[in-house]
């Protein structure tokens, strides 16, 4: 059977809710809590699921037969199997906590407020499509190695 003819693997259902609501954020936070707020462990527990890395593509094992000679294949295989990872210099726990509190108090950029009518549908779409996981704000400090960043919108 040729690669493109192979049927996709069946995916497991996920116990998470991707809707813009407080109830969904509470439910998701409870699920994440069972895994010590470790997204990796949560995703592994459901594998294969729509949240699994590279779930929209053929498996890296299958693609390896076609792409193994490409010089970037090992990098793309890593992206498919583990997701994109930013290689970052370390930051101390104290600095991280200080930054989290700062961004929590400061909020998003003014553009996010100024264009909130345009911003809302983008955020909602991200959630509905499963590109952003809604959680309770209260668990912010419990997520390991977390960073909070402000949202903004380019002047339309």
């Amino acid at each position: 059977m040729l690669l493109y003819q192979q049927p996709p693997s069946p995916l497991n259902p996920i116990p998470l809710s991707f809707v813009k609501s407080k109830e969904a954020s509470v439910q998701n936070a409870e699920v994440l809590k069972k895994f010590n707020y470790d997204l990796g462990k949560l995703i592994a527990s459901m594998h294969p699921s729509p949240l699994s890395f590279g779930s929209e593509f053929k498996s890296s094992i299958d693609l390896d037969k076609l792409l193994h000679i490409h010089p970037y294949w090992s990098k793309v295989k890593d992206i498919l199997d583990k997701g994109v990872k930013f290689l970052l210099l370390p930051i101390s726990k104290e600095e991280r906590e200080m930054d989290l509190d700062f961004h929590l108090n400061r909020g998003n950029h003014k553009s996010a407020e100024k264009f909130k009518e345009m911003m809302g549908p983008f955020v909602t779409e991200d959630m509905i499509c499963g590109f952003a996981l809604p959680l309770r704000i209260e668990i912010l400090h419990k997520i390991p190695m977390s960073s909070l960043v402000p949202l903004g919108l380019d002047d339309p």
């Binding site: 994109v84 991200d126 499509c129 704000i137 912010l140 977390s146 960073s147 903004g152």
Partner: protein, 147 residues
């Protein structure tokens, strides 16, 4: 919508400022126009009277096809309307994203070129079934002076 991962807190160390840039590949697709022009000029010089076809693909919401690792998802949290949002796909504010996307886009381009140059490929028998759902392209008007 942008996750501003350059904006630092009191530590002065935003996600983008902590990035190890030396480990990133060059963003080759930023040169795509120059590369295409060179390619067209070379083709024209070798084949002065032949039609040149060009194909451009726009990958819809390309970054959204690409999962973030768990570590990077935790570094990409935002708050909107009292909800904490964890980005699960590549963000538009992460400075390494263009370079990292290059791994994928370069491979796509190379696979396309390898396929075109493969004499064993019969496009009438081996093709993407989704291509049948694409509207047939309209015939291109014959350019003046080209035979």
């Amino acid at each position: 919508m942008t996750h501003d991962q350059s904006f630092p807190g009191p530590s002065g160390l935003s996600v983008n400022l902590r990035l190890k840039k030396e480990d990133l590949p060059p963003i080759m697709y930023s040169w795509v126009l120059l590369r295409t022009i060179h390619y067209i000029c070379t083709l024209r010089s070798h084949h002065p009277n032949t039609k040149i076809f060009i194909y451009k693909v726009d990958l819809d919401a390309a970054y959204h096809r690409c999962h973030l690792s768990c570590e990077t998802a935790a570094e990409s949290l935002t708050i909107y309307n009292n909800l904490l949002l964890m980005a699960l796909r590549m963000t538009f504010g992460g400075s390494p994203c263009p370079s990292l996307w290059g791994y994928i886009s370069e491979m796509l381009a190379d696979v396309c070129n390898a396929l075109i140059q493969n004499p064993d490929w019969d496009h009438t028998s081996l093709f993407d079934p989704l291509s049948l759902k694409v509207d047939q392209a309209k015939p291109f008007p014959e350019p003046v002076g080209v035979k």
